[in-house]
Symmetry: C2
Subunit: 192 residues, 2 copies
């Protein structure tokens, strides 16, 4: 269904810079459910690492405590599958830190790809991105929280994926759902 | 990408009968996040109604209160998109009640389709289900909570969809992610 992937794919959930409901640029709060749902989807679809990006040190500490419960603490004994997923999570302060971490493994800098619910003049299709994924460079998929990534942040990315649409005009998916769908469109299989 | 749908598609999230971690049959607790994420995905992909199925009256009452906040209360004014999604939710006690409700609208009884993370000898592919969806009968997609629907419940369904898989052996998606992916595989588009 998809070409065999020779490169590495990474995922980052961005909590700053994003818009709030009224269009101000904020740092959003990290959601516990985002960590669980997105790490489980990342593990399912063979993502190398899931970066939780927030500049707020108290939020970084909260995420570390949650992850630690499931990877080192009682949670990991209770549910090893959850441990395997949450071990993918890294907490960092900025997109630059994500790029440095990936490139620090001796790889090229990753190609950055944004997914956003709003249409964008640079939108590319999932088919186009699937073709590009057969290159040797690592790819970093970027997802925003709250009311979405800022225009400046989107402009700075290498590529912008087309919004996920169904047969309606409604496209207010949660970032948890959007992440799962994007990974499935790129790497899902239908074996029976 | 997909055939134009002439029929109606419904979705139900089943809280009983499901397994717990040790294989006992239980009624699981309703999750607030399931209501939000799954109703938003249902709205995006043109689902007619999203049934939350639980025999527990206190859980039914809890769901009614949450829904009411967003459809009649302050939540709806704050976020009309959320209101539009949660208006799809109906709370019922059993699968029979779901089927009666759908057939009560003067339609045929729905074709029931299970999605489960475990392989099943009756698994059909997404392509096969897509073809069947061009029939005139309504379709009801059934999703389980906790550690999955009971074998008896699965056997009683008309069809069982193949498990969602990525390129790994890990398939522990949340039901929120699984619902979004199934709807996207059946009804998603890639317009740019």
């Amino acid at each position: 269904m998809h070409p065999v992937r020779s490169n590495r794919v990474y995922l980052a959930l961005i909590h700053h810079p994003v818009y709030n409901k009224t269009g101000d640029v904020i740092a959003s709060a990290v959601s516990n459910l985002d960590l669980h749902d997105i790490s489980r989807a990342a593990k399912t679809y063979g993502v190398e690492a899931f970066y939780v990006v927030t500049p707020l040190s108290d939020q970084q500490e909260l995420v570390r405590r949650i992850i630690s419960h499931w990877t080192d603490g009682a949670g990991g004994k209770y549910n090893p599958d959850r441990k395997a997923a949450l071990e993918l999570v890294s907490i960092v302060a900025s997109l630059d830190a994500v790029v440095d971490d990936i490139a620090g493994n001796g790889q090229d800098k990753p190609v950055t790809v944004i997914t956003d619910a709003r249409p964008h003049r640079r939108n590319i299709s999932y088919g186009k991105l699937s073709e590009m994924l057969s290159s040797d460079r690592p790819f970093l998929l970027l997802f925003g929280t709250a009311w979405g990534l800022t225009q400046e942040f989107i402009e700075a990315a290498d590529y912008v994926l087309a919004p996920i649409m169904g047969p309606t005009d409604y496209n207010h998916l949660s970032v948890r759902s959007a992440t799962a769908i994007v990974l499935d469109r790129l790497f899902g299989t239908d074996k029976i």
